[in-house]
């Protein structure tokens, strides 16, 4: 949707403000970790930290994609619905052996790419606001998914899917390795490649980008495809973690991914953000959720704290850079 007030385009070069942005978040995260450590001696143990990170990994994958769409002044509300739909799709093969896993991944990625293509086409070519296009996609996917499962999905998954959540290679959880790979690959795309420069140009000033020979439509569609593919992959990993398919796998991830990105300094007005800082936002969000439980607060308190933090973080970055 159109931002209320469009700020002046900002360069993405390193400035004092952006450094503060980066380290401010790290300081906040360290403070949170210290509080958690004081409250619970077990919190800072490597085993627990790895556990917390494992829970965060699928969300991190979604955020890696979400940031691409937000950078071009959009947002994707359909990611959670896509995650659940991909999870249901994974059962469609009725596979009982691990041979099917590559096929499941290929099908999930292809399906997600098509969803992203439609989202991007609606936004770029049909001028539908990203909010409405992805909202409609969210509802449509939900309907298709429920119509397919009849409300009660069957859970036939290859046993190897559990490996995605709990498996380790050289002692490092597979899902963290995957998240790191995704972040590095897309980090290079975003911060080191020509496409990345075009994304920032389109996000900070579409008209100028167009005059510079960049096709904003193409960039926007590509961003939506990347977002959906990341969400699809995240959906498979979350499915592996949850173990059973439900029609609501990933529920709430659309908002959590936006919250994490905003906390990680990605501007909803587009054109400003960094993948790795956004992932710090994921860490902060997950640690806060964990902390609420450690403090013995009821789980509903997470909702209240999350709400305060999303508004506070958005205000913080606004004033920091104003």
């Amino acid at each position: 949707m159109a931002p209320l007030e469009t700020p002046l385009p900002r360069s993405r070069g390193v400035s004092v403000a952006s450094i503060f942005e980066r380290y401010g978040l790290i300081v906040f995260l360290v403070a949170l970790l210290l509080v958690a450590a004081v409250l619970s001696p077990t919190f800072l143990r490597p085993a627990n930290l790895v556990n917390v990170l494992t829970i965060a990994a699928p969300l991190g994958m979604v955020v890696v994609g979400q940031i691409f769409v937000i950078l071009v002044r959009g947002l994707d509300l359909s990611v959670a619905s896509l995650m659940a739909t991909v999870a249901v799709l994974a059962t469609a093969f009725k596979a009982t052996t691990n041979d099917a896993i590559p096929m499941i991944f290929a099908a999930a990625i292809a399906f997600s790419a098509v969803v992203g293509l439609v989202n991007g086409w609606l936004v770029a070519k049909r001028d539908v606001s990203p909010f409405l296009a992805t909202l409609a996609m969210m509802i449509i996917l939900q309907g298709v998914r429920f119509a397919y499962t009849g409300g009660a999905p069957i859970s036939t998954l290859p046993p190897g899917m559990g490996f995605l959540a709990s498996g380790r290679i050289l002692g490092i959880p597979v899902n963290l390795i995957t998240l790191a790979l995704l972040a590095i690959v897309f980090g290079i795309v975003l911060h080191r490649s020509r496409l990345g420069r075009e994304i920032f140009m389109v996000g900070s000033n579409p008209k100028a980008a167009f005059l510079n020979g960049v096709a904003p439509d193409r960039v926007i569609i590509l961003c939506h495809v990347i977002c959906s593919v990341c969400a699809g992959i995240g959906g498979l990993f979350l499915l592996g973690y949850v173990g059973t398919v439900s029609n609501w796998v990933g529920q709430g991830y659309e908002l959590d991914s936006i919250v994490a990105a905003v906390m990680g300094g990605v501007a909803l007005t587009g054109g400003r953000g960094n993948i790795f800082v956004a992932l710090l936002g994921v860490a902060v969000l997950v640690v806060i959720n964990n902390l609420v439980l450690l403090l013995g607060f009821p789980i509903e308190m997470q909702l209240i704290i999350k709400g305060i933090i999303i508004i506070g973080a958005a205000a913080f970055y606004r004033t920091r850079l104003a």
Binding site: L4, I139, I140, P298, L303, I304, G307, I311
Partner: protein, 317 residues
Amino acid sequence: MSAVVAEFRRNRLSLSYVIVVALLILLVAAGGFLSDRFLTWRNFGNLFQQLVVLGMVSLGQTFVVLLGGIDLAVGSLVGASTVFIAHFLEWRPDLLWLALPLALIAATAIGALNGLLTIVLRVHPLIVTLGMSSIIFGATLMYDKEPGGSVPRGLADFSYANLWGIPVTAIVLVAIFALAGLWLQRSRSGRSIYFVGGDREAARLNGLPVNRIVVMAYALSGLCAGLAAIFLTARTGVGDPRIGTALTLQSITPVVVGGTILAGGRGGVLGTLLGVLLVTMLNNLLNFLNVSSYYQWVIQGLIIIVAVSIHTTRRRQ
């Protein structure tokens, strides 16, 4: 009626309205053809009953969208208000005259707070109302996780009362829409919403109290959520923290189908009323045809895309 005509002229949206009205007529005709129970007085009574809550919330959403904003907190606010009303009335059923105004005042205040936060913090309304929605929902759940409370007989009767065969709640709804339409078209404060939504900076330079207008629009959205909660509590008899969860996004569909654009400054409440009619009637007909609610979701999504595509294409031309 003249207000309606004025709205047509003012926003040059007549074609959008014509499309929606044509679709409505098509729907009624198809309904009469496909089901012998659709075109009955009894069914229209039910239909009006069904659209009251969605209509009320969508009306509030219209004010905010006209302003170029969005209110994602309405669903949580409706849920919280039903919990407040039902529990208050369970405690003191005799204080109905106090409970309802209190609920409306509280809902209006929370709406105003949304508007105030977007101004003071200069944060996008999407983020502000999303955060507020989370806070309201969490707070309501901390008070009570399950549906509870009760309402006195009189309030329950109100929701099922008929006047000349038409549900009283529907008459109230239409009256409120008419008032809102008149206010938007005829009053200075109402028209200023269009100015601020069209070009906030220009409105400011023209000396309009932009901040006050923004807060007012969000407050109205809160008030509408409170009214919707009264209708809802009267009908269901309980306060349910989760009852509004789906309403937030549902409330946006009729607004955009009715031709109000998310960028703000264009559209109106007549379009929203037609949009609510269209969405509710379609779901009603699909129920008659035994189409599962799953496909109804798909159709709702397609409606959003098609409606917005039509409106944006028209704008381009």
